[in-house]
Amino acid sequence: MTIKTVLEAVHDAMQEEMRRDETVFVMGEDIGARGGVFLATEGFLQEFGENRVIDTPLAESSIAGVALGAAMHGMRPIAEIEFGDFIWPTINQIVGEAAKVRYGTKGKLNAPMVLRAPHGGGVRGALYHSQSVEAFFAHTPGLKVVTPSTPYDAKGLLKSAIRDDDPVIFLEHKRTYRLVRGEVPDDEYTLPIGKADLKREGSDVTIITYGLMLHHCLEAAETVEMDDIDVEVLDLRTVRPLDTDAILATTRKTGKVLIVHEDNKALGIGAEVSAIISENAFEYLDGPVARLAGPEIPAMPFAPPLEDMYMIDSEKIANSIRQLAEY
């Protein structure tokens, strides 16, 4: 085991996969000589050359579209969208096209591609460097959407995403990049896409979350220990496909579920998780399924007090836990 940051884990996962499989390559803006704006591909150009490390024009639709074409013809592209906020031009190629390749050809073609994007806020990024984008993609059958929270998960899941035979949207929270450190095995490993992970066991209240929020949730869970509230924390890790079994298992265990995500609440991941629970575990509920999520404003403002108001922290989570526990 070695202590790594999420960024190092992402870097290592791609590097190892590119060494392992010649069909894997990276493309995106500034990923060559610059090594990516976050340095996720630092040193790749030197090691793998410009044929497999492609600095693309500043044109996101073609980044996605070209990657999709290459993927349909035997390559495993990892396309980087510099910031999640710039991902919208790819919606047509990803949601409209990549997601439908397999179904629309009745399995004759498939698109083993990864679209990576740093996303999320709390980094003084304002409207266009803070957005959460997962719900838009997670709505789409044919896609997989991965939202890791720890270095261990990021590496194991990214390797799986690269090896996956379908398009995977891999969303890395910017704030986790350097702030979250954790043990990563030195040996080869992968983690299954679509499997949630119980990050903390408890008996009174379940928190279902993913991404950066996991860390705030774990902190809040410790805080409310003093209130004698025993919190279980389920990290979804993948928001499509959702791990229905894990969601229902923890619901049946505690009967009280709080869903926490940074993305805004309406029609978000929490709405789906909540619906899954009420459809399948209604008789196990001991309280309303609660959601703590981003506010219904278009995006995160810049000024610190405004950003703080947007962001969910462990204190807000602890309060929500207490309310639900008290119910």
Partner: protein, 373 residues
């Protein structure tokens, strides 16, 4: 694959001759100079004064078949049997001439919805194609999940994923990137209309392909209408091909009704692509004789006179005149060709209509792969 590339031209001729022979339409009238080499065959194609080459006659037969099939499908729509139809009438020479210049079964064909002749040329049977229009079991591209002519046939190199115009252009560029990275000598031809040339994806794709000198032929079938929008409302420049310069690639305008001109232009572009010189943009000036689709009424925006004028450039008529003037084709033979085409299409229609609809068993299959999560 390298072998295929090296003997490409012989291969094209031989296949043309064989196709004519196999079709059973008529006995192939192979000229005494059929043992061709690369130079002579090209000369013959280029030389309109010597139109007696067997491939031209064969091409004519295939054009007739395509036109007959196209007319039949339009009728099936009018009978309420085919839900939708985008006619290729007026585009046949551009499509058959370009495919003829490429390697079937090796090169990749990113087509769009008005490419009926490309499908036939690449190997789909009339029965399979009609099955697409009547959405029957055995439709080979998407299992009748998609609109007619959509889906993919990897063995034939056919990819036609989307109804969203121009989205396939960057994908075709990606296919070419893949070919380049793998060191293959494959060419990707991307067919699209004049309307698609306005899309941002078209620009992004051409720019990308040119930067990386990818083996791509951007093949614009300019029929001067995007549904109802005429060219003057589509672009301020005189031609699509003129834009190529801005990307750093050759732009070639060609008479898309002249099958030989199309063949030559495409062949040159393919050579450029295979030799690592990058993409080309061919703009084939074609005609559209029917409304955009069976759901469109072009009388609202287009005069009958204009259409009659366009029909003077009917690619079938142009090739037929050439074959007549060269005495390769006579009335008796023409009637035989027409009769055989009708018979093929009749049988195909019957077979396709008799086929069952697809089972619903696999409705949920192929959303994501079974092997993947």
């Amino acid at each position: 694959m390298a072998e295929q590339t090296s003997d490409h031209e012989n291969g094209a001729f031989e296949r043309a001759v064989r196709a004519a022979a196999d079709s059973g339409i008529t006995k192939p009238t192979i000229s005494e100079s059929s043992s061709t080499n690369q130079e002579s065959s090209k000369t013959r194609l280029s030389n309109k004064k010597a139109p007696d080459s067997p491939d031209l006659l064969s091409m004519y037969r295939r054009m007739v078949l395509c036109r007959t099939l196209d007319e039949r499908i339009w009728m099936l729509n009018r009978q309420g049997k085919a839900a939708i139809m985008a006619s290729s009438q007026g585009h046949e020479a551009g499509q058959i001439g370009s495919v003829e210049a490429l390697q079937k079964g090796y090169d990749q064909f990113y087509i769009y919805y008005r490419d009926l002749a490309v499908l036939l040329e690449l190997g789909l049977t009339p029965t399979e194609i009609i099955k697409g229009f009547v959405a029957k079991e055995g439709e080979p591209l998407s299992g009748a999940r998609q609109f007619p002519t959509h889906g993919a046939h990897p063995e034939y190199g056919i990819i036609n994923l989307s109804n969203v115009v121009a989205t396939h252009i960057p994908q075709g560029v990606g296919a070419a990137l893949s070919a380049k990275m793998k060191g293959e000598n494959r060419v990707v031809i991307i067919y699209f209309g004049d309307g698609a040339s306005s899309a941002g994806d078209c620009h992004e794709a051409m720019n990308f392909a040119a930067i990386h000198k990818l083996p791509v032929i951007f093949f614009c079938e300019n029929n001067k209408y995007a549904i109802s929008v005429p060219l003057k409302n589509q672009m301020a420049v005189g031609s699509v091909a003129s834009r190529a310069e801005g990307y750093g690639m050759p732009g070639i305008e060609v008479d898309g009704c002249d099958i030989i001109a199309v063949y030559e232009a495409t062949f040159e572009a393919a050579q450029r692509a295979r030799s690592g010189q990058g993409p080309s943009l061919i703009e084939a000036q074609v005609e559209r004789y029917l409304p955009h689709t069976s759901d469109d009424d072009d009388s609202i925006y287009r005069s009958q006179e204009e259409i009659e004028e366009a029909k003077k450039r009917d690619p079938l008529k142009m090739l037929k005149d050439l074959l007549y003037s060269s005495e390769v084709l006579d009335e008796e033979q023409e009637e035989l060709i027409n009769k055989d085409a009708r018979q093929i299409v009749n049988e195909a229609t019957e077979e396709a209509e008799d086929a069952p609809y697809p089972e619903t068993d696999d409705f949920f299959k192929h959303v994501v792969g079974d092997s993947s999560v």
